[in-house]
Subunit: 329 residues, 6 copies
């Protein structure tokens, strides 16, 4: 019951300050939540997800569903702590996150042998970079992440699990540059900056929209979408197939907003939408994505003030474990 | 994050007092919960559902599942506030609700053109009446609603989503007339009064019964029933088909007890029963009912004292949005 | 709303002290939780399950799903209260439970006519013994139960609903005999003692493992396993078939860890694992087991400190009702 | 951790049905809450207070503050269960409670020797009657209690701990006889019926009023009042003195609304008012009342849906223990 | 139980847009919380305080402690709704609040006769301005308020109830201008801008400090301080005396951070500190301030996600009622 | 908002394994809770207290009440992590804790100069030993602590803040040696073993007792007691005086059960008793103990499953900060 030093009791280092910290996959907290439009509190998301991982550990990381244990792979998984982010100035905080992410991304692999040869082919510099699993924080954190990834890989496809599109171009009253950067608009800005490949896809969408304009805008940002209802109409296999086809062999970034799960089962989040997927459904779809060229991943929007008995945190930590396995698939 | 003036920030008026308030569809709160057999608190249901609707608004009311936005239809949707109901004398409160409902039902439509031509054919007076979506309160509120509807339409079919039959003929010890009126017996009384057509149907039933007698009694009150397990055995399409066949082209009243959703996902209610439907399943079935001759609808039994992080309220508000769309289908 | 004298307002007696108490099926609380590896609190499980059963009663015990009412069967169902268990010395507590269980098991049936003729054939002494439905308490309580059952029936098959295997052979640091006895190791010890037939089966497994060794160890303890994902891949019918085939016509003990249900819907438990079954799914599988030779059953690991609005307790009480019906099938 | 058979594990009987049940002091639940003006749920008050008493027991009932153990006095303390009250018809329910209370009040003492000789002097029939400690339920229950007491003792003084006066003469809209009976008006009606002596006193008052009219009305109902602020201005000793002087040697009924405690420390109630007393202060004042001619007592308005970790229930159960001691003082 | 249109069911208008809205005292929500250093969520504070005021109403606004009813004074009290504040850009949001506050402050009084003659003497323009009671929001909102007040009154004394000084000159890492503006630094900036008179005072201080430097800095910002312990050492009368002496007959702004109350009694806030005052103590001190030259007031830092059963919201709404009375004293 | 590496972000080491870790004062978690008689969960106490300390840090550790900052004293304060304790075998766990405590106690001071010269005089070996502040865990942990201290100092006086005596000699049914060791009996056993000086004292006592026997037994164990009511009757100064006189200049161990605070303000504990002290009162009494010869201290019985919004954890962490200052007084 010891305090959480690190995700799943993994090795811990403040990698940003400690340049000797060597890893192949980093867990990185981004306690930023001032891009939130409704219920804040995702700044405690990294803390909550680590708490939710307390019953996970490297020695007991084998899952029947995957048939493997990511901690037994030989790769070095390290919890790199949190990025210090200022909660009073979003432009500054976004910069802090971009710099931090880029810094870790530039670190050499811990492994002396090749780990992601396809990743090297996709990188502009032709070498293998570590993978980072980010713990949000609200969804805004993906903007600095995409900025950092862009420097290494150029535009990436995004597989985006969410109840919401997050491709809006701004909220009423957001008249300043800074106020354009939010957890509902970061993909729009990312596309403006050329960070997203036109082979991206949303999964689990069910939010209300302004109308067809939103859908056309979404398309122009680079996304297709799969609704939460599609699982009933078409089934998991079809969803997996559509996602795989869409991203193909491009470099892929995987971003999971915990609100893709139904709020009845994962209440600890800021903008709940009824009619979502179960955690079992989400995990099944994730398993279907094995073998794609993932260059990074995140779980965002975990807001523990609205959680109960750590059910959301447990699900989020479990999904991070799936991501670890997925990155090695 | 502003306080809820009205459901989904719609226009608000105290329509009962303000005769100039014009609407096609009214949202009407009925904060009555003294017909409850177990956990009370649904008196705060209207308040909770409006709170749960704070992230909904007219300008963003388009849903992918329906492909339309009810607020963009040209019809006037208005939140008419709450009926003042006395919590100390159920007979008096039921009268208050019947009078209030009848009053609003008698108001002219706001639209100058025909909205529900089939509705006019079904009405005794041959004219179009507004639709009212009632926010309970406990399920007893349907008795005064059916009384008011009966004066306009005669007996109506009821599509009733609920874990419970609500057709019992009384509880032990209920020796007075007044104590017969409860959230488990209102349909029985409604049938005694000739308010229910023998083409009604329950959906989602899973409560425990006294035995076959309950089923025969239920039949005599005018209902067929679909159990929560039928969705696994027969599927959504079959359930939709059975409901549509059952009510045909009669005038239909739609009543949804939030306990039709599994209490694990919608805990904020008074008489929870394990093994229910998910909100996604309920919403799918609702969509299957498009085009029936609805004359009114309600969501009842939301008791926020037992809710967590507004998950029940969010689901209820979302279903009200579906009802708005459905009434225009 | 009266206080819970007994499960579902059944007849109550402190059967252990009161030798005149006559029953065919006993409900027996085992408020033991000091075998827990993570969140304790299942000592209040019997209390919580009885609270969760307050809306159940004999006169209204008919379920549509089963088409029968266990209280109308003629069998005598009695709530026998709780076994006094010491929370400071697990070896002593396990003995207390074994003695108590054996005591009740040895009691004559209340019914004057034969109830479980097949049960008599399976018993070493050739006579019919009562059935006991135990309310945990943590899962450790199954060890003393199996010890008591063994004296009557010899080794029994176990149908085990759980997210976890519970067949581990010990935790690190458990260097004493007593510390081997836990809610994750009791099956291992039971097998060492020859209490489990090699025809047992887990259902709902999804915990993380140490690797293939755990699976081989599990096999050696006598179990096959069905994962939570199997319901999507193979369906309920296949799961039911596999379970029935596995146990055949052996004497069967049925043990249900409430964590088999997804923690999003049943949060009140100690070691939650994402991706579980819904209560509706669990209840369907249970119904598929009708007609097997059950010699006892339990619901364990209900920890109300982590529950919300009694959703876990309501589900557990509902499952106990299913078990009552199942024992008469 | 066994389920609560009875308050503080005392002997239990359904005294209303079981005429052989003999007692000197009865604990009697009144699960009535349909006289509530705001948050309902006090129907679960008796259940909650019994739950809150689980760590109390006769053998460990000695308190340092009183220097005695009420269970060691030789008097027979019995938990008489709950009065069956209908939640749909307040007039009927009030009758049910009056009849039940009168029934128990008329029972002979269990003790063969004199217990309350002064009580006998005060009773119209000159004999000793049992004392009943009622567990509410909302405050309305005091009306039927006073009706029953009146038949035995004539008008009684009331010592009334509450944030509210409860002497209002009706709520707006309460146009029927039945709707006059509420948890805020019962004292007014009791006075109309001549049940209250003009030597009654409120303690802990801090609610907002309509103005001086309320105070004059309150006076006319028979009360003086002590505000919550008086404890700071005048101290406990002065408060005790004023209460004792006010009631003198009249027969006294003691009624404690749990909202007299600050809602920050006792949140589980329906109409919370900031600025209340602590439980330590309340208990001190109660101890100051030793030796008065108490003819009955209650703790009301415990609504567990708003409680947390049983803090309100624990305080209420503790106060009931004080009342037991007080009745023997 | 109707939804909260307005604080205490007062008259409601969107005064910022509706120039015809006339008032003497305005209630104004400022749902801003992105200046928070720890737990966010005070953006829902205005909503929560209005919810907590639902049991208050003008017709029942007389308090025994004050001996008056602010709604019966003849002054027009109006709920002016919320200032629209952007949650993504603090500099912009602070401007929005300053403009909104100044706008309302400039409105003429509703009363045709003189209300605050001394206020007119203190105002630069020699006329009487309305008073505004602001509902936070985090404490940062006081910076724009002081900016707006300064234009009317010049520097004002501040009576500041808080566990914290809020006079720090910045947080580590706050390297941009915008990031200097926080709920812990706004007084420092206000002093830089000459908005605070050197006759201000904190009450209830108990936070941990960096050392004597903090105290000297605090002094230089214009404050003396009264610790939470001073109430035990010196008593309420002494505290009141010190505050009154300190501010004298200067124009006074009153700001109350709800964390001045002990978090055990008012948990719904962001930066809780053990050892605080009770709500009764806080209310007593407030009453001691009657007759000072108040030019405005606020209650801030109510974060309902951390509240329970609305105990914090109820206390906050009660204090706002005290402020209404105080402004008329 | 970073995860808690250590109490108040202090330096962290697993001191038990890391012999190079040097400290003067160690914070040591003891996540043991299987000695609990009622609500378990204190095993998460160390985790909760560290979480509750997240807003504390060395650089901001100056308190007005003490006028000093313990982290600025030059002494080395280190969080030494948790003792691994087995939850299945209390005898084994108690040994684990005794060995761990003794190990750290034997470590040399980090400071090169004398820190506690009087401590050296009291120690059998005449040298200065580090001080350890233990984070419980249930109160049983004090038995192994006293065993370890005894080897260094011989019998020590105990200042014991608690609602309960914890000097009972056993619970009914505790027939084995192991089951004698509980959170209510550890002082009795400690006295049997000669670990407690007959100059010990309880403060805050208010639990119910078996009678005068308990008091005489308590006296024989070595304690005087101060009740929670004594603060009203005699005041803080008197309480402080009695404690100081009682322990004199003996070596003193300070143990604080969080249930000494009223459960209304600190609900996160296992055996709540109404009528306790406020955190402000407790902290005041602690300050009165400055200058005694403390040889160690603890805060125990924090059970976060029953806490709300970390109010109990915040109070506990704040008290640990007071203890750090006290140890340097
Ligand atoms: Mn989202
Ligand atoms: Mn998102
Ligand atoms: Mn219903
Ligand atoms: Mn229902
Ligand atoms: Mn399990
Ligand atoms: Mn298990
Ligand atoms: Mn009352
Ligand atoms: Mn009251
Ligand atoms: Mn503050
Ligand atoms: Mn502040
Ligand atoms: Mn204690
Ligand atoms: Mn203790």
């Amino acid at each position: 019951f010891s305090g959480p030093l690190a995700f799943s009791h993994a090795e811990y280092a403040r990698c940003l300050e400690d340049e000797t910290a060597a890893f192949d996959i980093a867990i990185l907290g981004m306690p930023f939540d001032t891009g939130t439009t409704y219920r804040p509190g995702a700044r405690f998301g990294p803390y909550a997800i680590r708490s939710g991982s307390r019953r996970q550990r490297a020695s007991q990381g084998y899952t029947l569903a995957w048939g493997s244990n990511p901690y037994a792979s030989g790769l070095k998984i390290m919890d790199c702590g949190d990025v210090p982010t200022i909660p009073f100035d979003n432009a500054l905080a976004v910069d802090q996150m971009a710099v931090a992410y880029a810094t870790l991304l530039a670190r050499p692999l811990a492994s002396s042998t090749s780990v992601w040869p396809r990743g090297a082919l996709l990188a502009k510099d032709g070498r293998e970079h570590p993978r980072i699993i980010s713990l949000g924080g609200d969804h805004t954190i993906v903007l600095p992440i995409l900025r950092a990834l862009n420097k290494v890989y150029g535009p990436v496809s995004v597989i985006h699990f969410d109840a919401h599109l997050d491709t809006w171009n701004g909220y009423p009253g957001a008249v300043t540059d800074q106020s354009r950067i939010t957890h509902g608009t970061f993909f729009y800005i990312a596309n403006e900056e050329g960070l997203i490949a036109n082979s991206s896809v949303h999964a689990g969408i069910r939010c209300k929209l302004r109308g067809m304009d939103d859908i056309m805008n979404d398309e122009s940002v680079g996304f297709h979408f799969i609704t939460s209802d599609d699982i009933d109409d078409h089934g998991v296999a079809s969803i997996v197939e559509r996602i795989r086809k869409r991203v193909g062999d491009t470099p892929v970034y995987l971003s999971l907003d915990i609100d893709v799960i139904d709020p009845g089962m994962a209440p600890g989040t800021g903008t709940p939408e009824a009619g979502g997927w179960t955690s079992r459904e989400v995990k099944r779809i994730i398993r279907g994505l094995a073998g794609l060229n993932f260059v990074g991943a995140d779980v965002v929007e975990v807001a523990p003030a609205y959680d109960h008995a750590e059910i959301t945190a447990t699900a989020a930590a479990d999904i991070v474990h799936d991501f670890l396995t997925l990155l090695m698939s």
